[in-house]
């Protein structure tokens, strides 16, 4: 309707704060939802690497390790590129 168009023209107040609030909320919730703190994460990272390195040789320069939160699930994302597989007899 024409009135709607007029309203939009005269009362449009910039870009609005809705996107700001969503962004801030998502950040704060990602933090709230992951109960792991940085030091625990680091400890876990080291322990996992020790175990994995027993079986495969990892590319230590391109390791990725992070906590990701999506809707109600928090996941541990680990990307551990393998250089070569250690033969079992050498274990």
């Amino acid at each position: 309707m024409i009135i709607d168009i007029f309203e939009r023209l005269f009362f449009f107040n910039g870009r609005g704060s809705r996107n700001d609030v969503k962004k801030r909320l998502k950040l704060v919730l990602a933090h709230d939802r992951s109960t792991l703190n940085a030091s625990t994460l680091e400890k876990m990272r080291k322990e996992i690497l020790v175990v994995v390195s027993k079986y495969v040789e990892l590319d230590t320069d391109s390791l990725e390790f992070s906590i990701k939160t999506d809707s109600r699930m928090t996941a541990l994302i680990a990307n551990l590129p393998i250089r070569r597989i250690i033969q079992s007899e050498s274990l």
């Binding site: 309707m1 009135i3 709607d4 309203e7 009362f11 609005g16 909320l25 919730l29």
Partner: protein, 271 residues
């Protein structure tokens, strides 16, 4: 077997008690035997919103201490005989009741009712744990504001950790005009962030305050207001009926429309 639903939010002032009063009344109007339990010990308000404050003689605490029988503490609503209120004590604190006692009380009431709604206190301490203990389901009330949504998220996590799987969302005090102007999160935004099923959306309206002033829930009015309709629809959805969500955008009036209505006479919800 009664359906036992806790109405909770984390943050205070988002409308838990208003929601409990209106949904309780609406469920009773649908023909269900409904009991409301005020679990907000020390800060009871549910009796006020229902206009039953002058009829409180005994509370849940006197039932537990054996000073009276459960039937003596329950207040029957004269306007809607299907509705009962079990008031909380006002002169005690939240630690004066244990989670086991709360479960015992609800257990006593369960056989006689179709619905038992528990009005949870704000916060996530003892009072919260007491209130959610006996519940099978939860209804999380939030407003489209950053603090309320954050607290709701925390509460959802705690409900899940306590084994309550059926959790639904009620978005209260929505201002469609602000959403339209991109200055308020939409219902879809809140839903997406909290990731639980939506059961109701209540628009912000001055008539909510008027109804609390009078102690008459909105759903009692002969000609229902918009939030009154929204509460009634929510009660129907709790009952399992498929009810479309209201197009609140269509009802909200911008400044120009208000001006036009002022001169040309109100043509409510015509657009």
């Amino acid at each position: 077997m009664a359906r036992i639903i806790v109405i909770t939010s984390g943050k205070g002032g988002v409308g838990k008690t208003t929601t409990t009063a209106n949904l309780g009344m609406a469920l009773a109007q649908l023909g269900y035997q409904t009991a409301l339990i005020d679990a907000d010990i020390g800060l009871r308000n549910l009796d006020l919103l229902l206009g039953l404050e002058n009829r409180v003689i005994y509370t849940a605490l006197e039932v537990l201490s054996g000073e009276c029988r459960l039937e003596q503490a329950l207040i029957k609503d004269k306007r809607q005989p299907g509705l009962m209120l079990l008031p909380a004590a006002q002169n005690r604190n939240k630690d004066s009741i244990s989670a086991e006692q709360m479960k015992y009380l609800v257990g006593l009431m369960e056989p006689q009712y179709d619905y038992i709604l528990i009005d949870c206190p704000a916060g996530i301490e003892t009072g919260f744990h007491n209130a959610i203990g006996p519940a099978h389901e939860a209804l999380v009330v939030t407003t489209p504001e950053i603090a309320a949504v954050r607290d709701a998220d925390r509460v959802i996590g705690l409900l899940e950790a306590n084994g309550i799987e059926k959790i639904s969302l009620l978005v209260n005090r929505l201002r469609p005009q602000m959403v339209k102007a991109n200055d308020m999160m939409s219902v879809a935004d809140v839903r997406e962030i909290l990731a639980i099923p939506l059961i109701g959306v209540i628009p912000e309206d001055e008539c909510v305050i008027v109804s609390t002033n009078r102690g008459e829930p909105l759903v009692l009015e002969k000609k229902l207001s918009l939030p009154g309709i929204a509460f009634e629809n929510t009660a129907c959805r709790i009952d399992g009926q498929q009810v479309e969500f209201l197009d609140l955008q269509a009802y909200s009036k911008g400044p120009l429309k208000r001006l036009r209505n002022f001169f040309l006479g109100s043509s409510k919800a015509s657009s």
